[in-house]
Subunit: 242 residues, 6 copies
């Protein structure tokens, strides 16, 4: 099975990190291809960023059409996800979507931990969009952060462990989602210090994408070709299928 | 006051219809400019359509930046709305958003009437996104429709009157939203046959945009310029401000 | 256009303050008449107060019937609002209702700031009654206050600025409602110190009332005359129309 | 124990019917006094009616203050209930409130049955106000009714039995509330034809009022006297206590 | 009237405490029988505990079948409650269910106070199961507790009084539930120090069970006998009735 | 990987059917063991049935402890699921839980189709327990059924196809769950006649259990041994671990 993992921003170093996390949990027969968005922004923060990252993500999906059995949108907030589910004939999962559903299957209440409170509104909206607000035991976020996102996971490791403990002990979380791109891949480092299972969105998405690929009907859904103007050829091609 | 009204699809005849409805309710000193999306799709139906209509709508907003005091996104579903609120320094309202809020101010419970049940899922999701599901008394929709959308309002006028009566009498609606582009402008024709106020989204949006333009602080919010690639110059310019 | 602004309590100094705030945002052609409730209580605090303020508000609406194009109930909690919408043939808006809807049109998440936590339960219930709880990013309220309500805004200005900052930075509020009568009119003083738009309920209500007056059908709804006993002549007259 | 049962409208024949239903379930030592509102309207239908019935209900509570251990507001919609709970030192229950809570204690899902769909919006709002919407399996209401409310229960008995059967079999109701004044007292006639328990609001309220009278602290809550103008002496007296 | 009060765990000293609290509020003609679960666990903490306490509670109900007019399951979380309502022909109430409903009838918003935050998740889930989350003003819980549950009420009395004050003053609670077995019976000690009514779940359940016993139809519901294997004879007998 | 699939009732023919459905989608390296509950009831219908099926399901899990990498509770309603997640150190999934989560990952709105309306209340409660009510587009159920459950799938195949079409076309379902034991395994027969993906709960659970087995930490959670009395040795052993 081949799974395309798309980093919805244009920063290749993040893509590498995501790819490594994905490969660490993929089943033996699964091949991971991790790619960056072909255009857009180096970092996705606002709702406007989320919107423009959508076509960029679709472009990445379109460029490799036919070469993968499932796809993962590896950007918390899941840009382009709903559109991709409509336009692509294999399962497409977002990493926040996957983290939420996997957490629900591990326990009744999950916590969300991240390094800065600035991400909380986005996470809350994403959680509400997926309809799972009532399953969330609460958010535990660190203070404002102005340093290098690429090093925050290591620099704030003790803080994160403390936040996870609060989530489990005070909020009653039975599983904890480590949310936000800069925390990708640190679950194994933290797990020994935390009493409940930790979830990495990319890893949850890869495992669940493997699962869904075996449940979805194989025959492509028929669609009427439509003319989309003003977007890259790849994006338009998703609309142009016979 | 100048209000830019953007039809998020590329069909100019619809734009004309929307412009006429807007001018019919604008205050004396208000000037309406109605424009089509500069690229994208001739009709917005699916979630994928909604996503790609977002940057097209942003492009229209960017192209005329500085020439309007408020803007209206005249496409049920409000593509690009959340991003526009972040990127533009004057009030931007969507027509579904405006219809929902105006209906709430007319009564405790509003109904939604449209000509075909196929639109119901999109309307329900839009309503949930705006957080007002609990204020809705119910949907009353006609059967599947395969004819000319440009003529459905007139062809199904009796059906619409009957659906409005059901909404008011059986669901307890105290105001009714006539939803969906093809019904733009028919409220005056139907109102004499309906016991509760009817709302046209474009018209609600124009009046509310006038209102909001007087409430929002005038000084532009400071933003850090960022480089957006892969989109039309106009869209990128919204990110590039000093 | 003439707008009747009713202070639902009997304290004329508050009425003056409300009237000034209303005039500051009214459109050029709009004339504001601000009146106190003709009877009732000098301050509305409890649910019982709210109930008895309802007929007092209706009496004020009835006494000037035919002289206004829209009305505003200028008392947080909106006493008599639902009844007024039924009994009066022009748009009637409450200031909390108006603040909530206007805030939603400014951003996805709004905060509520006030000078004392004692008001929080009332605000929460009012918000829930209007169905917009999910759009609220949170409440930020000051400690108990036992001084002169007429001076609290000025005395606690620094505290209010700090609460607004918390609302924007920690809760992610994109617009902030300054709630509670004693804060009427201080938004302009605070706005320079706050990064997101501030909303004054009375001002939001005046602008939205102007908007709604242009959307509601002009012909009065037919009603059957009914005999109401035990209330002032004015209130009974609302029931007695042919 | 003495329980005051207040019919919030001024129609004495309805008061008699309510009193009889109340006495049929009161415990041996309980004495029921049933009274009509001293002023107001002969029938409560709209939200405006509900508002003006509030002070009328308070007046009845005030007129007999000190003579009862608990009170019941016997009007579906519970006018004046929240205010009465604040102003009166013994338990005050509304009949819709009581019906909803009692139904919840009989099963997980309750149905609501009434003779005409015109009452559905009011019942839905009342249910939402009490926060129990999620426990309701659905409404089953008859067609519009223009006859004599005093005879509808008997005339539509077969219809009501059929609606109860639908509620139990199709909606999964495990208890059914017979809602609306005109159905008071018919539960015993219908019960033999229905497979699940039927609830009469007045009767539920009387039993629950007896229960609550034994749970509430006896010492009156201290209140500051306040001057209420424009209302009957009795109502003002509720505010004037030392 | 006879009421069977079942402690769902096997600890007789707790059963004695529960029985005393029940008798303190029972009506003159009511006889209380308090029994421990015949098997199971000495303490109910987790969801697994809750599950296995269900058949143990059913066994206690079955063993005395025919000797009581109503029953109370005296274990916060209400194990076996939904099943008991189906299998037993008299009213069966849980103490958390009773506390929630009674609190709602005392005021619009109730608080929940307990001695340790460790119980909060269970209480929240129980509250959500009963559908009354929106009526709860908030939880106020003490820090972790590792001492003797039998003495915590007395040891933490000052803390509990402080938590009750916070609940009333900051959260706006109008009634407060003292939750958790170890707090059974301490309401009278705390009430003089708290401005709003305190509720003990067992006592609420006894009063409400008396009330419901007068509302439920007397004739047993017909059931088809079914063969249940692997459980104690008493439990199976609930399935075996003709 | 070995997955234990437990039919929570005692009917072996159903167990065989479930086992076949499970094996049809299991990954190449996965071995399925399907077992019946060792005691309990031949069919699970009511909430009481659900309760007693819980310990029976735990007994099956305990009897084979150490021989499986993940487990599936194959009974709609998921009896014993929350307890099993606490007591067992490998992932345990319920088939309704799995169907709901998988459906969410296939589209924004899922429908639920089954052969008889009698199952609707149970499905609705199960859906609410998992917190996903808002993702459900609606239920489409057949009329009462009194025949042989083992043959209903085949007898009502045309009806089911029609219900699926209604779910997709009128409710906007983007994936459909075929709910209820008697429909296990018929998805492949119906899929060619339905435009959106069909989901079988057992099959979804097997795929998702494979996924979760790769995400959960391997080291068993430490638990304190506790003495459970009155249950089969196997069940008690789950409590007795060091």
């Amino acid at each position: 099975m081949r799974i395309l993992v798309i980093n919805s921003n244009t920063t290749d170093s993040v893509t590498d990190r995501i790819g490594a996390a994905a490969r660490a949990v993929a089943s033996p027969g699964t091949e991971i291809e991790a790619v960056s968005a072909p255009f857009g922004l180096p970092l996705i923060v606002t709702r406007a960023d989320w919107l423009v990252a959508g076509p960029a993500t679709l472009a990445a999906l379109a460029a490799r059409r036919g070469t993968y059995d499932a796809a993962v949108i590896a950007c918390f907030g899941d840009p382009g996800l709903d559109a991709a589910k409509e336009l692509v004939d294999v399962p497409v999962l977002g990493i926040s979507e996957a983290a939420f559903h996997a957490a629900c299957m591990l326990g009744r209440r999950f916590g969300v931990v991240s390094f800065t409170a600035a991400l909380r509104p986005m996470f809350e909206e994403c959680l509400a969009h997926h309809g799972l607000t009532a399953r969330c035991a609460g958010f535990r976020m660190g203070p404002p952060f102005a340093g290098d996102p690429g090093r925050v996971a290591e620099e704030r490791l003790d803080l994160l462990a403390a936040l996870c403990a609060e989530s489990a002990e005070q909020d009653g979380a039975e599983a904890i989602i480590l949310a936000g791109g800069p925390l990708a891949g640190i679950a194994p480092l933290l797990q020994p210090r935390v009493a409940v299972p930790l979830l990495d969105g990319t890893q949850a998405a890869v495992r669940l994408a493997e699962a869904m690929a075996g449940l979805m009907p194989r025959s492509p859904r028929p669609r009427r070709a439509r003319a989309l103007t003003g977007f890259a050829e790849d994006v338009a091609s998703l609309y142009g299928r016979a």
